[in-house]
């Protein structure tokens, strides 16, 4: 309307409103969110006649996180080490797909397309990684990673470009691009597809990544899927994310556009250009995730693997729980990575809980996290109830009060 005196938070898009919520409340709210999700998961186990405590204990063992404690020794320690390697292998792409969603959020965009960007990244990586045999190893790895980043950036950039030029909503276009990426991959690697394995004509699978293009394993047995250096690449990406967002003029524009596109426009920023740029950077992160998985432990892509790729989607939960911050994304990725490996066939003790059921439990907890994060206000209210106040007093001396309508 017109004359506005009291401060008022103008929500431009659902995504920016959500981003606004996610900044408040510090670390307590995500921790409470997680706890609530675990409690709800425990209730599900109780209802189905399982023992929640024993199950969570088994999952905890499956994650290998007890390796971090010095009192884990002997055979326990070896098993924990192997389990922790699996946890971190899954954590690595989740960090990156989490960044891909978080970066978009900070610009007021909702990137649902992490999955598609991950797939095109992995396709590019498997293509480069299985070609050019005999290339120097470091160069080959770099080339494959660059190709994957470019592919992801291009893929997400399409959505950004459409948003900037025609106003097409990024949620819709990224979802559609997920399907296009999926079926592109299926076509490429299916029988007689352009990139199908030459040696195994009867199997719909890509060529194998050559030895020289594989990421070196630095912890554990390379043959038994030890931990590769992709983790460090992901952690480096986290630093890039943080610097880009908080210390660069690009990030300053991105955040300005995210909070208030109109004010950004009045300040001479090109909102459309920023949308494109942001989506491209998101795609770069997700594409990198695809490359690291292909070069780190998958080494090939089979067509029937593609429809069950979910790292891009979990990235949404990671970003939400991590509150779109660099460090939060790492922590949330580790949580989800641990949950996945802790409930996997390979790591979970089948006498306590069947792993096939347990992975569903992971999905339940993941779903609950998203649900509760979305109902963030609810968690804030529960906290506030204890203190007898309802608002973020710290940051807002006179916030716009919304009374009951």
């Amino acid at each position: 309307m017109s004359a506005t005196e009291e401060p008022e938070v103008l929500a431009q898009t659902p995504a920016s409103r959500l981003a606004g919520y996610l900044r408040g409340g510090g670390v307590i709210v995500p921790v409470m969110t997680t706890l609530l999700a675990f409690i709800a998961g425990g209730l599900v186990m109780l209802v189905t006649g399982k023992d929640p405590i024993a199950t969570y204990e088994a999952i905890w063992k499956g994650t290998g996180l007890q390796w971090l404690f010095p009192w884990t020794t002997g055979a326990d320690r070896d098993l924990a080490a192997s389990n922790l390697q699996q946890t971190l292998i899954i954590t690595t792409p989740l960090i990156l797909t989490g960044l891909a969603v978080a970066f978009a959020f900070r610009a007021g965009l909702f990137n649902i397309g992490g999955n598609g960007q991950y797939i095109v990244g992995s396709i590019a990586a498997v293509w480069v990684g299985s070609s050019f045999a005999g290339m120097p190893s470091v160069l080959h790895i770099l080339l494959a990673i660059l190709a994957a980043c470019a592919a992801g950036a291009f893929w997400a950039g399409i959505a950004g470009f459409l948003k900037a030029t025609t106003g097409a909503h990024e949620v819709i276009s990224t979802i559609m691009l997920n399907y296009i990426a999926l079926w592109l991959g299926v076509w490429l690697f299916s029988l007689d597809g352009p990139l199908q394995n030459e040696a195994q004509k009867s199997i719909p699978v890509s060529e194998d990544v050559v030895e020289g293009a594989k990421l070196p394993v630095f912890w554990g047995d390379p043959v038994l899927q030890g931990l590769h250096i992709g983790l460090f690449i992901a952690l480096f990406a986290v630093i890039v994310f943080w610097v880009l967002l908080n210390r660069s003029t690009i990030g300053y524009e991105v955040r300005a556009v995210g909070f208030n596109p109109e004010a950004a426009r009045y300040s001479g920023m090109s909102v459309g250009k920023n949308y494109f740029l942001v989506m491209a950077v998101c795609g770069l992160f997700a594409g990198l995730a695809g490359a690291i998985d292909v070069l780190g432990w998958q080494f090939r892509i089979a067509t029937n693997d593609l429809p069950i790729v979910y790292f891009g989607f979990i990235g949404i939960a990671v970003a939400l729980l991590g509150r779109n911050t660099a460090i939060g994304t790492v922590a949330a990725a580790l949580l989800f990575g641990a949950l996945y490996s802790g409930t996997s066939q390979r790591n979970l003790d089948p006498t306590i809980f069947e792993p096939s059921l347990a992975s569903n439990l992971t999905f339940i907890i993941q779903g609950l996290v998203i649900l509760i994060v979305s109902a963030d206000v609810l968690v804030l209210a529960i906290i506030a109830r204890g203190r007898g106040i309802f608002r973020r007093d710290r940051t807002a001396p006179a916030p716009a009060a919304e009374p009951e309508p």
Partner: protein, 507 residues
């Protein structure tokens, strides 16, 4: 009158938000059938106090009595039960629903399980007739005027049997005509024994409608005085704590070379209609040119086209001799244009940014704020600290979020940023809208200083007083065309005639 029990009594109300004391031991009482004005600068604590009364905040200390009885107002629904109604500055209406539906929302009359629309409409009609609140019960909210929306808000409280009515800056969104209609309604309510808290910082309105005035300054109650015998000057002094120049002193202008030249400019508005139809004008160095006109006559589009926010359809805009038409905001800014936009929340500030970040919005791309694409937070904060001090922005450090400042201080931040960019031409679009007298004085002083410094200033304003006090020349815009030019000593009548199209023949 004194012997009567107060309809409402607040004793020693204190509200702290962390280290910030928004209300500091405030006493306030409201007699039955009284209009009691609550006056104070932006951020003085008026809205906080009323939010406590309406149950939106709980006070840190203090007690509330309604009709002599100690009560605890812990929610708006409790406030409503106690007969307290509040009309917010920003209306809380559902745009797609009808007047009646909005009023009965939450208290719907039922017939069995069904909503009794006819009964609702009847009661709305009855109430509106009683107090002269002209509303159409069946009109849809998004299609009625702002004035009627406000009457609906008032009816909403009356429908819930409010006997104490809190009006938060009710006239800020109204035209002069709607304001006088509102005052008629308030008088009718008063006669019926409804007690009214009238929050405002417009002195003339407070003098016209209220019986008593309580003045707050920086969270403290300064004084409560009867309106009779008070003057604008005396109230302004209470509010600001010193003598206020309600009219700034202006030295004689020394206009120099043209800094803005607009030639036969045509601009289309949001809907594609031609809003500016061939405007030509000049602003020279060291002069303030005021663009006067009734709101919606093409001012917004003209300003946007000059500032580069909107591409013109035809014509030219030159800054210091350089043609910048259609080059966009960045090129226009670099050519030397600064722009204080009309809507500071939507266009002027990023409310979720800190003050340091907001103050850097013009200069973030150049040293010392950034080097090779990397920001220097230290430089940003240091520069912000200096500007906040120079522009007397209260209640904020460089790290404070812009959203937590009061409106007047937010505007000072926008003004500081634009002037600090050292422009050739400063566009000030309604720079004092919604500000209190102290802040208005400050902004006016700043604009005049920029004029002294040899900058051209284009002032767009709807306030006659402001235009006359600041302008060296007055251009009147009507239906997208400049229909007349006047000296600053023009009479309000002559200007009014021109603004409503009467001067078109003369132009």
């Amino acid at each position: 009158m004194q012997a009567e029990a107060a309809a409402l009594e607040l004793r020693g109300i204190t509200k702290r938000f962390g280290p910030v004391v928004a209300n500091d031991g405030i006493d306030f009482d409201l007699r039955p059938g009284e209009v009691h004005a609550l006056l104070g600068e932006n951020g003085a604590g008026k809205s906080t106090l009323m939010s406590i009364l309406y149950g939106l905040y709980s006070p840190t200390e203090g007690e509330i009595r309604v009709n002599g009885e100690l009560v605890e107002v812990d929610s708006p629904s409790r406030a409503i039960d106690l007969g307290i109604g509040m009309v917010h500055q920003h209306f809380m209406l559902v745009p797609v629903m009808t007047v009646t539906e909005n009023i009965v929302l939450g208290e719907e009359p039922r017939r069995g399980a069904l909503l009794d629309v006819r009964e609702g409409a009847r009661r709305v009609k009855e109430l509106s007739d009683r107090y002269g609140l002209a509303v159409d019960p069946n009109a849809v909210i998004e299609q009625v005027s702002v004035g009627m929306q406000q009457r609906v808000e008032i009816l909403k409280t009356l429908y819930r049997d409010a006997r104490i009515l809190i009006l938060d800056e009710p006239t800020a969104v109204l035209t002069a005509q709607e304001t006088s209609e509102l005052f008629e309604v308030l008088r009718a309510l008063k006669k019926d024994g409804v007690s009214i808290v009238f929050i405002s910082h417009k002195l003339n309105e407070v003098l016209e409608i209220s019986d008593r005035v309580t003045v707050l300054r920086r969270g403290k109650r300064i004084d409560t005085v009867p309106t009779e015998g008070a003057t604008e000057q005396s109230l302004a002094r209470l509010m600001v704590g010193r003598d206020v120049l309600l009219r700034v002193e202006k030295a004689k202008g020394r206009p120099g070379e043209p800094t803005l030249e607009v030639e036969d400019l045509h601009v289309r508005d949001e809907r594609g209609l031609e809003a500016v139809k061939g405007v030509s004008m000049t602003v020279r160095e060291g002069e303030i040119v005021a663009l006067a006109g009734v709101d919606g006559n093409g001012q917004l589009e003209l300003v946007q086209a000059i500032a580069g926010v909107r591409a013109p359809e035809a014509g030219h805009v030159s800054i210091g001799g350089h043609d910048v038409s259609g080059l966009g905001v960045r090129a226009t800014t670099e050519a030397g244009v600064a722009h204080i936009p009309e809507d500071r929340h939507l266009c002027g500030l990023v409310l979720d940014f800190t003050l340091a970040e907001n103050l850097a919005l013009r200069e973030y791309r150049s040293p010392p704020i950034s080097n090779h694409g990397l920001l220097s937070l230290g430089q940003m904060k240091e520069r912000a600290r200096a500007l906040l001090k120079e522009y007397d922005v209260r209640g904020g450090e460089p790290d404070t979020l812009a959203s937590s400042l009061s409106g007047g201080n937010q505007q000072k931040v926008a003004v500081a940023r634009e002037i600090a960019s050292n422009p050739k031409l400063l566009i000030a679009h309604q720079p004092t809208r919604g500000l209190d007298v102290g802040a208005i004085e400050f902004v006016h002083g700043r604009l005049l200083r920029e004029r002294e410094n040899g900058r051209g200033v284009l002032l767009v304003s709807l306030e006659f007083e402001e235009i006359r006090a600041l302008a060296d020349r007055i251009l009147v815009i009507y239906e997208g065309q400049i229909v007349g030019e006047f000296p600053p000593d023009v009479s309000e009548e002559d200007l009014g005639v021109a603004m409503t199209g009467g001067g078109r023949a003369a132009a």
